[in-house]
């Protein structure tokens, strides 16, 4: 864009008439909603627009971002994973229990991640090879993970391990006197890796192809079986990782953690512009969806007069608006 005067006019013309590709539109709308909410909050409440508030939103919802990323893979193939909330609970309990038994922290983390990935893989195998609907297979996963959690421990186990506490409490200084935490770093890295995998690898393109049309993907010779089982394994892994972050966030393992969290994650993915029918959507959108959710919570905290259940109502209304917009948008071109 280094320029002469004539070119800058056309540049202005181009900027004025520029419309982003329609596939990015849902993400842009969500981002606009997010910015708008932060703007309104900044005007209404003192200190709302402070960057540290934003960093806190990231920190408080780091686990949800990771969950939403895993779920995005599954939803892009046209499936659904209801088990993520239960896997989070299972992960916190496994982590807390193994640490209580005196396992080294690294081994405890590894066990959690393997357990989640294994459960996801099993669900993927059931879905692909036995033709069981994703809804039902992951419903079984939901019950299974919750049941395992109850078997390990019914009561809440505190995490007292030094390494875990250090990671949880450590703050990473950022320029400008702000700070963030490892939870945020892990969550953002997950988003980056997932975005790269979806956009730039054969695996990622196959995910979109299956979401577009599974039989076409099969006829094109894509490795449908591998990818379809793979997305559920990824979702299981992400749920376990989210569970680890949740354990770090609360420093306890409890069988009643994360009840209904799968709903929050699915809502965030839909608000982020991913179609539940599959084939369209971006992990970045899901992340912004989670941030919108977090901002609503912050709004309610700052306001002080609103009760916590308004979060759910607001999310429901937002979900409705986005679903209707999506419906109108997808109906248009036809």
């Amino acid at each position: 864009m280094s320029t002469t005067v004539a070119e800058s006019v056309t540049l202005w013309e181009r900027v004025r008439t520029y419309s982003p590709p329609s596939r990015f539109l849902p993400v842009i709308v969500t981002f606009a909603v997010f910015l708008g909410m932060f703007g309104v909050g900044g005007v209404r409440y003192e200190g709302f627009a402070h960057p540290q508030v934003f960093l806190h939103v990231l920190h408080d919802n780091a686990f949800l971002i990771v969950l939403a990323v895993g779920l995005t893979f599954v939803i892009l193939t046209g499936g659904i994973d209801l088990s993520v909330g239960s896997v989070v609970a299972m992960s916190t309990v496994i982590a807390a229990k193994t640490l209580e038994l005196g396992w080294p922290p690294a081994l405890a983390m590894l066990t959690v991640l393997i357990a989640g990935t294994l459960l996801g893989t099993i669900m993927g195998l059931l879905i692909h090879y036995l033709d069981i609907q994703p809804f039902i297979a992951t419903l079984a996963g939901l019950f299974l993970a919750r049941g395992i959690t109850y078997l390990i421990s019914v009561r809440s186990i505190p995490i007292t391990d030094e390494t875990f506490r250090e990671i949880a409490y450590a703050s990473i200084p950022l320029p400008g006197g702000h700070y963030t935490t490892w939870l945020v770093v892990v969550a953002l890295s997950t988003v980056l890796i997932a975005a790269y995998v979806l956009a730039r690898t054969r695996f990622g393109r196959t995910v979109y192809a299956i979401g577009g049309s599974e039989s076409s993907a099969m006829l094109m010779g894509l490795r449908v079986a591998l990818v379809k089982v793979g997305v559920y394994a990824i979702s299981g892994f992400c749920a376990a990782l989210g569970g680890l972050l949740f354990a770090l966030y609360l420093l306890s393992g409890y069988s009643l953690h994360a009840v209904g969290m799968e709903l929050e994650a699915i809502a965030a993915v839909v608000i982020g512009g991913t179609l539940l029918t599959g084939g369209r959507g971006y992990v970045v959108g899901s992340m912004i969806g989670v941030l919108v959710y977090g901002t609503i919570q912050t709004f309610i905290n700052f306001d002080g007069t609103l009760s916590s259940w308004w979060t759910r109502i607001a999310i429901g209304v937002l979900l409705l608006v986005f679903v209707v917009i999506q419906r109108v948008a997808t109906r248009g071109p036809r």
Partner: protein, 362 residues
């Protein structure tokens, strides 16, 4: 697949029984065989653990015993599953039933508490009526999203599933509302003709639905919408009205279940009332042989499915396993039922029994 349009037999043996070998084939091929077998196995396990398990005696003028407990506890899931069966038959799904149940419980309880005469029968009747009226509105809302706006059922009902519990909290103001109304609690713990009222209500709804869907064309119309909405509309079926009706019916059933649950605990906790009941209900429907792909439904199957879930919930503590392990066993049941019903597994089974294929293809 050839007889998709024919209504499922209301009871096994209602059709004219064919000759010897094909009767055997019909028994082995009957969709309710495995759920019924599972229930028998569960009951046998129970009798082994507690020999007096199946004993039913008369106490205080009504029947008393574990089987009675099972049918009493199965009422809410049976009601929700009943509505869900019809929704699933139209190739839809209703995720919001748990939230609707919570709203119904919240409305009924707050209404009773706010009434000037808290213990009166009139108060209870008014409260339940109001709760069901609210549920009609919620069902109409779901039906509007699905049939008029054409949003996928799973997303359309997700909206109310997410927002519903918030609304229920709003109604109860976040409190656990406790009610003291004898007539209201009778709904869950009372007995009529020696049987629990809750179960009779659920059974009455099933009977009424069976009558409406199987003795009129309604059932076939619902299945037609499930097989192909566009084609059924072109054939003169009011697909939109039927979809709308089905979601409203599901919400009313869920509301009734919510009221019964609230009556059972004599209180409402908007966070936990009916939690995961939608999953139990879908499970009951699937166990009963109604496929999630729509176009076919079996009310008898749903009844068996709901009873199986209630029996399972009763079996776990009875054989000395902590009741929290219930989830684990539910997972096993889901997988087992799905594997048995999965077309691929069935195809593998059929290779060994060619006679079955022939009979079914007829």
């Amino acid at each position: 697949m050839t007889d998709t349009l024919a209504p499922a037999p209301p009871t096994p043996g209602a059709r004219k029984a064919p000759a010897g070998p094909s009767r055997w084939a019909r028994v082995t091929g009957h969709p309710l065989l495995y759920p019924l077998l599972a229930m028998v196995v569960l009951l046998i396990i129970n009798v082994i653990a507690t020999p007096t398990f199946l004993n039913v005696r008369v106490q205080d003028g009504h029947l008393f015993g574990s089987p009675i407990d099972i049918i009493r506890n199965s009422a809410p899931v049976l009601l929700v599953a009943l509505g869900m069966t019809l929704v699933i038959a139209t190739r839809g799904i209703d995720l919001s039933v748990g939230a609707v149940a919570a709203i119904a419980g919240a409305v009924a309880c707050t209404r009773i508490v706010a009434a000037p005469d808290e213990g009166a029968l009139v108060t209870a009747v008014m409260a339940v009526t109001l709760a069901l009226a609210v549920c009609v509105l919620l069902g109409v809302w779901n039906g509007f999203l699905v049939s008029v706006l054409g949003i996928q059922p799973i997303i359309a009902t997700l909206v109310l599933m997410v927002a519903g519990r918030g609304l229920a909290m709003l109604i109860t103001d976040g409190q656990i509302t406790t009610v003291n109304n004898p007539a209201f609690s009778k709904l869950a713990s009372g007995y009529l003709f020696g049987l629990p009222i809750a179960f009779l209500v659920a059974l009455g709804m099933v009977g009424l639905t069976a009558l409406l869907t199987r003795r009129t064309a309604l059932g076939m119309l619902i299945e037609a919408v499930g097989i192909n909405p566009a084609a059924s509309r072109l054939a003169g079926v009011r697909a939109r009205t039927i979809t709308w009706t089905v979601y409203t019916f599901a919400a009313v059933c869920a509301g009734l279940a919510g009221v019964i649950i609230a009556a059972n605990t004599r209180s409402v906790n908007a966070n936990s009332l009916g939690l995961w009941i939608e999953l139990d209900a879908i499970l009951a429907v699937v166990i009963g042989g109604t496929a999630l792909t729509g176009g076919r439904f079996s009310l008898a199957g749903t009844l068996v499915g709901a009873l199986l879930i209630a029996t399972l919930a009763r079996t776990i503590p009875n054989i000395g396993i902590p009741s929290e392990a219930n989830y684990l066993f539910k997972a096993v049941v889901v997988v087992a039922v799905c594997v048995v019903q999965s077309p691929r597994a069935r195809a593998a089974l059929r290779v060994r029994r060619p006679s079955v294929t022939k009979v079914e293809a007829r």
